[in-house]
């Protein structure tokens, strides 16, 4: 059985800049996949290719096993929120949703259901341009849910939401996934990722650098904090054995078990000053995977 969402060997360049390089991953049914990475890493480009807004130079994106353009009724399969500001500011909230409902063949009562669901019923007559960013995000979510889709693709949906709104969003996504829906959500909100996501896909410089289950990450042993005498040289030594060390405090956070770190130190003939096991921290973990992203940008 094919996964509801899949990117297969997707590549995209803008001029000389490589936005995506051989990107492949999929999102199984009934799961929430967090799509993380630094700004400019290629998250939005990947989501735009998935939703048919941008054409891939090579490879393809699939929804329910087919390219979105090939689906006879795409709104039934995929709902998306790519940019909460991409609505006509002069159109009312209700009319914005009614236009889409009309386009995809949904009755207008579905509009009222979705407005109720996202808590925008009271501002249904207000023009979109008069909404706060948080309200526009809610409108975007209502728009994504209109066609009863089996999968959702959301690009930073928590932008502009207050803490209460973020909890509401968590519940919405969890409920959607419990019903068998599939969610791919790009976000920088790591706390929300830890609360809701089943899987994590990490992108850096246009390449997928990790794809893992959050549970595996939580139970994964071998996160180690280490302080060594010659830290830069030890960092290089660790990279040579396939680790992704991340500088933190006076030492390094290493994605290896303490004994493996010890062996690496022995082989590199570097004295260790401190060595201890560390709990998984998502921010440090992501940073260790994408540490080179900003190199050269500040020069």
């Amino acid at each position: 059985m094919t996964d509801p969402i899949e990117l297969r060997r997707v590549g995209k360049t803008y001029g000389k800049r490589i936005a995506l390089d051989d990107v492949s991953f999929s999102c199984p049914e009934g799961t929430i996949t967090a799509f993380c990475g630094p700004n400019g890493a290629g998250k939005s480009t990947a989501l735009k290719i998935l939703t048919g807004i941008t054409r891939a130079d090579v490879g393809a994106a699939f929804v329910n096993g087919q390219e979105l353009q090939q689906l006879s009724d795409p709104a039934r399969f995929l709902g998306c929120l790519l940019d909460a500001s991409a609505f006509h500011p002069g159109r009312s909230v209700r009319e914005t949703l009614r236009l889409t409902a009309f386009t995809i063949g949904e009755p207008f009562r579905r509009v009222d259901q979705c407005l109720e669901m996202v808590g925008l019923s009271e501002v249904a007559a207000r023009r979109v341009g008069k909404l706060s960013l948080g309200m526009r995000q809610r409108l975007g979510l209502a728009h994504a849910l209109l066609g009863h889709p089996r999968a959702l693709v959301l690009d930073e949906p928590s932008n502009g939401l207050d803490p209460e709104g973020m909890r509401w969003l968590d519940n919405l996504l969890l409920h959607f996934a419990e019903q068998g829906g599939t969610v791919l959500v790009s976000t920088h909100q790591l706390a929300a990722v830890e609360r809701t996501a089943d899987r994590l896909v990490v992108i850096s410089r246009g390449r997928i650098v990790d794809e893992t289950r959050l549970d595996d990450l939580r139970t994964q042993a071998g996160r180690t904090f280490v302080v060594a005498e010659d830290l830069p040289r030890f960092e290089q030594a660790l990279r040579r054995v396939g680790s992704h060390p991340f500088p933190t405090g006076a030492g390094l956070l290493v994605d290896l078990a303490p004994e493996e770190v010890g062996r690496a130190a022995r082989d590199a003939r570097i004295a260790l000053l401190e060595l201890r096991s560390e709990d998984i921290r998502l921010d440090a973990y992501l940073a260790s995977l994408t540490a080179t992203e900003y190199e050269g940008r500040t020069a």
Binding site: K48, T51, G52, I53, L68, P74, L82, A86, G90
Partner: protein, 241 residues
């Protein structure tokens, strides 16, 4: 496809700007008739002055209706729910054409009412057969102007430059080529509209008022077909930002 055309017609009219634009176009058409045809006794003469303003009015409406999606970034949302863009684009061209023609009909109906009220003794001339002939000429102008404006708007995707090129471009070109009549005859932006109003089979210019197939097709290709094809291709590939 019919549903998409209805969606696009609704989209073109469901915000204040376009609604005002269509209303102003309709009212200004009537006011223009009233001013130009102040002393006229027949309805045909009363609305004849409209033909001068029609390319401007219809071009303006078509450009505004066509570029709103791109200038407000709403195209991103529209294309995400209908990934097969050619369906949306086709529906949009048809919708804008229908709206242009509807505006012309509304202008005529309003003008007929104004004429009948202000000249009750000549009201019967509203039903003169000559009115139909003149309406057809204006319809041809409306269709040609709307097609050109939507083609240019689809190519440029920005309201201001599209207006300058589609609405004022033909005017400036006509003035600019005034001293080279032979060239003007073949590149005249209004040649297709003139031919459509009174179709004939002569290849070149037949008379002062009749245009041949050659200049008409040249005008259509240069001012409508080429921008339409390029605009279509551009919109299929463009990435809304």
């Amino acid at each position: 496809m019919i549903r998409l055309v209805l969606v696009e017609m609704r989209r073109a009219l469901d915000t204040r700007g376009p609604r005002w634009a269509f209303a102003v176009a309709a009212v200004s058409g009537v006011v223009l008739s009233f001013l130009i045809g102040w002393e006229t006794k027949t309805f045909v003469a009363f609305v004849a002055g409209l033909s001068v303003a029609l390319p401007l009015l219809m071009g303006l409406l078509a450009v505004m209706a066509f570029t709103a999606e791109w200038t407000t970034r709403a195209a991103l949302t529209t294309f995400s729910i209908t990934p097969r863009r050619q369906r949306i684009l086709g529906a949009r061209y048809v919708a804008v054409l229908i709206l242009g023609v509807s505006t012309l009909v509304v202008i005529h109906l309003l003008a007929a009412v104004v004429f009948a009220v202000t000249r009750p003794t000549s009201a019967a001339s509203v039903f003169d057969i000559a009115v139909l002939r003149q309406f057809w000429e204006m319809l041809a102008t409306t269709i040609a102007a709307t097609l050109t404006a939507t083609a240019v708007a689809g190519l440029v995707l920005r309201t201001a430059p599209a207006l300058v090129i589609a609405v004022f471009g033909p005017l400036f070109l006509t003035i600019g080529l005034a001293f080279t009549p032979a060239l003007l005859n073949w590149l005249n932006p209004y040649a297709f509209a003139s031919w459509l109003a009174a179709p004939g089979l002569d290849w070149t210019i037949a008379s002062e008022t009749r245009v041949g197939v050659g200049p008409a097709m040249t005008s259509f290709v240069v001012w409508t077909a080429i921008p339409l094809a390029l605009g279509w291709f551009r919109q299929l590939r463009a990435e809304p930002r």
